[in-house]
């Protein structure tokens, strides 16, 4: 176990190092950021001076070395637009994104598992077929379009829910959260529903597939023969094993939710880190894009690691190598 952990941590560092090279290289193709920093009427000397000040006159490898050294010292660069440390800017917005992602994840799990169990236990019923068709529609739905439809129907036509922003927040241990105020809760409904839809459909289909596989096995027949009620067999015996693939996919889905949160945040003007990324792409704010990508890569590597560890607890047949 210990040797596995050490190996995994080395792998994680290696992946992040490669990501930093790719991100840095790609970003250096995007043009010269010096022009973002100098006034419009700057002379050639002023531009050259600014470039030297930013370190952009040095060769590529040296630039990357400085970038890596600064990063390891905790200095991830300053935003060209906000003139603040980019890492701080992103950290400020993490709670909003995490809150939205968590609410959608919970929504997706709470709806997907019962529906998936039902569709898997009674595959021939009309309701099950409707659930499956609905889930295929959910996978086919562009989530930005769902968001637009919700805004149009619930905000523009019927004025039921607010269409943008985060509403009132409460500070909890220094972190601002929306879910604990009535106004904030109203604001989070539409973004969370928009975001959860694809995940809901995916988790539902995997739960159903797992359920159908498990229901064929002998131990289920045995449990029924022993006299356990159908309900008990479903939720106590079958679900446990059917959920194993759901846990695997859970990590990937969490990553997808963070990625798709950029679109949802853009539509609902939700002040999270995804919206910051899109704004930064528009304004060519390179340091913020780089820090966002490094931070998100770190998150994904961490999520995968945690999922692998959780996996061994759920399924003792799996050993870590």
């Amino acid at each position: 176990m210990i040797s596995y952990l050490i190996k995994r941590i080395f792998q994680m560092v290696a992946v992040l190092w490669i990501v930093s090279i790719i991100v840095f290289t790609m970003m250096s193709f995007t043009g010269d950021p010096t022009y973002m920093m100098v006034p419009l009427d700057a002379t050639q000397e002023e531009i050259a001076h600014a470039r030297a000040l930013l370190g952009l006159d040095k060769p590529y490898v040296v630039q990357y070395g400085i970038f890596l050294k600064n990063m390891l010292h905790g200095d991830l660069g300053r935003s060209f637009v906000f003139r603040q440390p980019a890492f701080g800017l992103i950290m400020e917005r993490v709670p909003a994104t995490v809150e939205m992602v968590m609410v959608s994840m919970i929504l997706a799990l709470v709806l997907a598992i019962p529906l998936g169990v039902f569709a898997g236990a009674y595959p021939r019923m009309k309701t099950s077929r409707a659930i499956m068709a609905g889930s295929l529609l959910g996978i086919s739905l562009p989530n930005f379009w769902l968001g637009i439809m919700l805004i149009f129907v619930l905000a523009v036509q019927f004025h039921l829910l607010p269409s943008s922003g985060r509403g009132d927040t409460v500070s909890l241990a220094g972190v601002n959260l929306s879910v604990f105020t009535r106004d904030g809760l109203l604001h989070i409904i539409m973004p969370a529903v928009t975001l959860c839809f694809a995940t809901l459909a995916m988790l539902l289909r995997i739960t159903r597939a797992g359920m159908m596989e498990v229901m064929k096995q002998d131990y289920i027949k045995f449990a029924r023969a022993k006299g356990a009620t159908f309900h008990n067999v479903l939720f106590k015996h079958a679900l446990k094993n059917a959920l194993i693939p759901v846990v695997t996919i859970f990590g990937l889905q969490l990553g997808d939710l963070i990625a798709f949160a950029t679109i949802t945040e853009y539509i609902f003007a939700w002040p999270g880190m995804g919206k910051l990324l899109i704004d930064s792409i528009y304004m060519g704010d390179r340091p913020v894009i780089v820090v966002y990508l490094m931070f998100v890569a770190f998150l994904f590597v961490l999520i995968n690691f945690v999922v692998d560890i959780i996996y061994t607890f759920i399924d003792p047949r799996i050993t870590l190598r």
């Binding site: 992946v15 490669i18 991100v23 790609m26 970003m27 193709f29 995007t30 068709a133 295929l136 529609l137 996978i139 086919s140 739905l141 562009p142 989530n143 930005f144 379009w145 637009i148 439809m149 805004i151 149009f152 905000a155 523009v156 269409s163 597939a209 990937l252 990553g255 997808d256 963070i258 990625a259 798709f260 950029t262 679109i263 853009y266 539509i267 990324l277 899109i278 792409i281 528009y282 894009i289 990508l293 998100v296 890569a297 994904f300 590597v301 995968n304």
Partner: protein, 297 residues
């Protein structure tokens, strides 16, 4: 000609076609796809306006609602946008762009992915380890985010979207083909070909490739839907196709800018077309997967 008719007869009697006729979802999927093929091929000659020909636009007709709503015009069945552009005509041209990019991306990524998968599976060893490690790492990041990052570095453009989608898409083909190649490699016909002294590249192309085509086709069908959604998402965020060549996703974005003023038809209809198209592809893709490759179920 005779050969062709024999082949089509064999197809009509095949189990695949028999099951297809019995499956409502497969038939509806094929119907939806046929509808879109019709739009793509004949669309421009069916709509009366070319939305990119400025001479054919009437600014006075800007923001007309669909024809069944008071103030609408039968000329503009689904209404018009801010430049007096017919929404239906924009959708027809947008569908062509969306499908063109996605199909091209499917071809590019399946060729690259299949080549890497064949090499990886057939030769094994260090190269295999390297390719699969790259694939593993890439799969742990969401495709949308990778594509978004590439587009933010490249800038807008049809070709750039194509490159981004290919970079994102090759992994799934490579993995599928590698898996099938590994199992084909063990079979006797490959050993026979090796014993006969055929060079490796010929064994791969002539003997293994035809036998790994089925899973490749299944993955390719489903992947087109994913490509359409990613392209639409990129364009919706403004980092996809350029404004002069709007795909369905960019049409939704343009419509979204005026949605809060109640002008819903410019964004709702293009989005509905994306959904319908992807839904049709998924219906047919699911059917093909269940029929041709029960292991993937």
């Amino acid at each position: 000609m005779l050969l062709f008719s024999k082949k089509s007869e064999a197809f009509l009697e095949s189990e695949l076609f028999h099951n297809f006729r019995g499956s409502y979802s497969a038939i509806s999927g094929a119907g939806i796809i046929a509808f879109f093929v019709f739009i793509v091929v004949l669309g421009p000659s069916l709509v009366w306006q070319n939305p990119y020909d400025i001479a054919s636009l009437e600014l006075l007709d800007a923001y007309k609602p669909p024809f069944w709503i008071p103030g609408g015009d039968v000329h503009y069945i689904l209404g018009t946008d801010g430049q007096g552009r017919d929404v239906l005509a924009s959708i027809v041209y947008g569908t062509r762009i969306s499908l063109l990019i996605s199909l091209a991306a499917m071809v590019c990524s399946s060729v690259i992915g299949a080549a890497l998968g064949l090499i990886s599976g057939y030769y094994g060893g260090r190269l295999d380890g390297f390719i699969m490690r790259v694939a593993d790492v890439q799969l742990s990041f969401p495709s949308l985010l990778i594509a978004l990052f590439l587009m933010s570095a490249f800038g807008n453009g049809l070709g750039k979207v194509l490159i981004s989608l290919t970079c994102v898409g090759w992994v799934i083909y490579a993995r599928t083909v590698r898996g099938s190649t590994l199992s084909e490699k063990q079979k006797e016909y490959v050993q026979a070909a090796q014993a006969a002294g055929l060079p490796n590249h010929k064994i791969i192309v002539r003997h293994i490739l035809p036998n790994v085509m089925t899973p490749l086709i299944v993955v390719a069908t489903i992947q087109i839907g994913t490509f359409i959604l990613i392209e639409a998402s990129l364009s919706f965020l403004g980092v996809g196709v350029p404004i002069t060549q709007p795909s369905l996703g960019l049409l939704v974005k343009n419509g979204f800018d005026v949605l809060l003023s109640g002008l819903w038809w410019t964004s709702v209809f293009p989005g509905a077309f994306i959904m319908l198209l992807v839904f049709g592809i998924n219906l047919l893709g699911d059917f093909l997967r269940d029929e041709l490759n029960p292991r993937l179920r």
